[in-house]
Amino acid sequence: MEFEPVIAFETHVELKTKTKLFCGCAVSFDAPPNTHICPVCTGQPGALPVLNKKAVQYTVRAGLALNCTINRKSRFARKNYFYPDLPKGYQISQYELPFCQDGYLEITTPDGSPYAVGIKRIHLEEDAGKLVHSSSSFESSEYSLVDFNRACVPLLEIVTDHERNPLRSPVEARAYLEKLIQVLRYLDISECAIEKGQFRCDVNVSVRPRGSKAFGNRAEIKNMASFKAIMDALGYEIERQSESLRSGREIPQETRLFDEAKRITVPMRSKEDAPDYRYFPDPDLVDVELDLEFIERIKKTMPELPDQEAKRLTEEYGIPRSEVLILTRDKHVSNYFASCASQTRDRKKLSRWIIKELFKLLNASGIPIEKCPITPKNFSRLINLLSEGEVTDTMGRSILEEMFSEKVDPQSVVAQRGLKPIQSAKVLEDLVDQVVKNNPDAVSKIRAGETKPINFLVGRVMQKTQGRADPKVVRDMIAKKFPSRQKSGKK
């Protein structure tokens, strides 16, 4: 029998508000321990939470981008449990009346068709602190220390639907997570840096015979610290459950942990041991009533989403779709492109040069584009020089390298190196003649019908001019010397 998985994610995304969800402490990821704390976020007796409005705006922004219904009335609830990193003995979260519900996120499936992944709800909650263990694990540690810098940082919990348009394969799961990160970064509400814990996932998996309407018992998997871990855990779990069903074993509903070292999932607790969180409305906070005006204002100031941008770049600038997908995959790339696009006219060239040339330099040096040493202004200047024929592509590449390593503007490189392109046809003619004369082998091959040696001759001329000649012009000149081969020479 063939089995199909049903996958649902609970994703926690740390919002990049300046201050925490319920107090005025700064949100900071690398500050020394317990330097951004106050009576509220350390759960001092008598301290009370006050909601951060910005976090609500961000939540609504996410809800709109994920096509959710925005609830006009929302409510915070307490989730009660004991853990040393939880200062109040409860987490302020949401239960009934989350901010957003019943949405979808469109992904592209492997066959290229779109699929709207069901989003069940999006709610806002506070993060807990961080435990630093004296040994490798909590259990084996003699003591643990608590850092409350992260306590009370706003977290968005985004839950996908397991009934309405669920994720049906690891490939879709991956596409969903990638799209979610892309959208959240476009919304400018989270960095989604997995390694910094800003994007954390729990995943619910069940399998059922392909075509079946009923759901199998699900396992919730926790403790996946990377994209790879999520995919490995999913793959393992689907296989494990399918194997169980094949051999007639029951699958218990349970919570499992991903074992980072063994790359497998192991049981953590059964359904019977699931904690009773005793949710109830937090009496320290009042219901949040969102008026239509508030929601409309957020709608009006929504940043452009990746799909919208991709459409615009294709339609307005005529940039090929393959390039558009690359430009819009990462908000930082798109930002860089947008900064340059406002200062250049040839956007096609701009796109090509970012993807072909700039990426090469960035990749080689391991620098992310948001830290690119070439400012968009200088990069645009170079593109303009190229499109105005002031420099050739070859020169351009060399100028770009220098701009990258020396952080200089293109004009000064041109001026310093005397890299004005050779415009004079007479000078080029002379050079071409010289090269033709000095390479009789190539010449005879061309006469015999080969085309490759033409490239060779163009290369010689470019070398002599240190790239200051336009290779197209040179090629034409050489081709003219061999009239019978003109056609193939132009190919």
Partner: protein, 480 residues
């Protein structure tokens, strides 16, 4: 009469006229404390040194000739449930016996800004859970009227301090009657304002949706003075109301001619001590003789109030008290523990008293899966009914008068072994917390040598009428 026995209003005038100094007054209070504390036990902490420093500073402000704030130089006691920066705040519990808050409660900040002298932190039932002050980890506060009797709870220390001259004014908190009941038992005046009128920031939570900070004093006027200082909207408390802030002293003398006073019939039936009932009815008659219209009204859902109260209060308490886990502050068990779970268990077992444990367990049960709907949700529905009763009744009256307690003050140990009987002491006070209404207890006479308290209940945010009726009664009864 010593300085420490005079009213805050009178003392403020004497200080202003420079007839006395704040240091003299503070010393008078401190010497009374020294004399009475061995019996009364109204304080958990007396801040003698800082009090004298604050008194000196207050006197300097008087001498400077500049305008001084309203309570400049007046000694105030603060219930040990309000956070005081640098001063131990125990909540009457062993689990917080060494807890020194890093911040001031909003009301403490306001009291300090008003120039008042903080004399110390008063005794209370642990985490405000109790009606007799017998649940304090620091021993019970005793009733200054007769030390064999309880002071009432939970703000027993604050009430006893004011009654004994160990403070001129006091701050308390009221979740189900915790200001009104000890005020009645000790024969003083105490008001619980409307929920949201006074900031809860820095008030250690017992039941967040019911807790309210209030004041205790020797008269309605004294209470009005202190209420003027502490009320008002606070950004730090999401449940604090952005309501207009009147001058409570100004409206005090308007009299009660034509005022409509409701007598809720459910508050005068079975279970009430006839001596209490008669004393209150005599006071009501006096009001009627002086121009008040007394109207019979009904609050039909009163019988659900105590049950609803104990479900909501314990549910919230079970969550509010989860933070006392031995991790961050307060007590941590000195015995060995194998893991954090055991640390929690031992710490909480050693740190909490019997009544607190009882309420945490009750509240945990109430919120549990499968019981939430039957208890917590139901209680909230009952709460709505109780509130609607008041809304409806207030359509035809301006205020209501009721007993504070069905019984006279009782002796120490008399009810402590029977929690249910103790809970019933709150029968006339909890409804106001459920409905968020203001209520004041003033003394309306004595029976068998024990004070009887009368409760004046107001519309939401209408403390003015409550204080005005109280003041008028005090005047006509020749009390002040």
């Amino acid at each position: 009469m010593d300085l420490c026995d005079k009213s805050a209003f009178e003392l403020a005038a004497m200080l202003r006229r420079r007839e006395i100094t704040s240091v003299e007054l503070t010393q008078s209070v401190l010497s009374r404390i020294e004399q009475k504390e061995p019996i009364i036990n109204a304080f958990i902490t007396v801040t003698e040194e800082t009090a004298l420093k604050q008194a000196e500073a207050a006197d300097r402000r008087f001498r400077s000739g500049k305008k001084v704030p309203s309570l400049n130089g007046i000694p105030i006691a603060i219930k040990d449930i309000l956070c005081t920066k640098g001063i131990t705040t125990t909540c009457g519990s062993a689990i917080l016996q060494n807890y020194v808050p890093p911040y001031n409660a909003t009301v403490v900040r306001k009291v300090l800004r008003s120039g008042a002298v903080i004399i110390g932190k008063t005794n209370m039932d642990e985490f405000a859970m109790g009606s007799s002050n017998e649940n304090s980890a620091f021993g019970p506060a005793r009733n200054p009227v007769n030390p064999q009797y309880v002071a009432g709870g939970s703000s027993g220390g604050s009430a006893a301090a004011v009654a004994a001259g160990e403070a001129v004014l006091a701050l308390g908190s009221d979740t189900g009657g915790s200001i009104r009941l000890p005020s009645a038992f000790c024969g003083i005046t105490g008001i619980k304002p409307t929920y949201g009128r006074v900031s809860r920031y820095g008030l250690v939570s017992y039941a967040s949706s019911l807790d309210q900070v209030g004041v205790l004093g020797r008269s309605s006027k004294d209470c009005a003075m202190l209420l003027n200082v502490i009320c008002g909207h606070d950004r730090m408390d999401s449940t604090s109301a952005d309501a207009k802030k009147p001058d409570f002293l100004r409206s005090l003398d308007r009299g009660i001619e034509g005022i409509r006073v409701g007598l809720p019939r459910e508050y005068f039936v079975e279970g009430i001590d006839s001596r209490v009932k008669e004393t209150i009815l005599a006071a009501v008659n006096l009001l009627a003789e002086n121009g008040a219209h007394v109207i019979d009204i009904s609050l039909p859902h009163t019988r659900y109030a105590v049950s609803a109260y104990y479900l909501v209060a314990t549910a919230e308490a079970s969550s509010n008290l989860a933070r006392y886990d031995g991790v961050k502050y307060g007590l941590r068990t000195k015995t060995d523990f194998a893991d954090s779970g055991q640390m929690y268990e031992k710490t909480r077992r050693e740190g909490f008293g019997k009544e607190v444990k009882r309420r945490i367990m009750l509240g945990t049960f109430v919120l549990s899966a499968g019981y939430y709907e039957a208890y917590y949700k139901k209680a909230q529905q009952a709460r709505t009914l109780v509130r609607e009763d008041f809304e409806k009744a207030f359509e035809s009256v301006d205020c209501m008068i009721a007993p504070v307690s069905p019984c006279l003050p009782f002796k120490l140990g008399e009810k402590i072994s029977d929690p249910l009987q103790m809970y019933l002491v709150d029968i006339y006070t909890v409804s106001l917390n459920l409905a968020g209404l203001p209520g004041m207890s003033i003394n309306c006479g004595w029976a068998d040598g024990l004070p009887v308290g009368m409760q004046i209940i107001g519309k939401p945010f209408d403390e003015q009428t409550v204080l005005r009726v109280g003041h008028a009664y005090e005047m006509m009864a020749g009390k002040k």
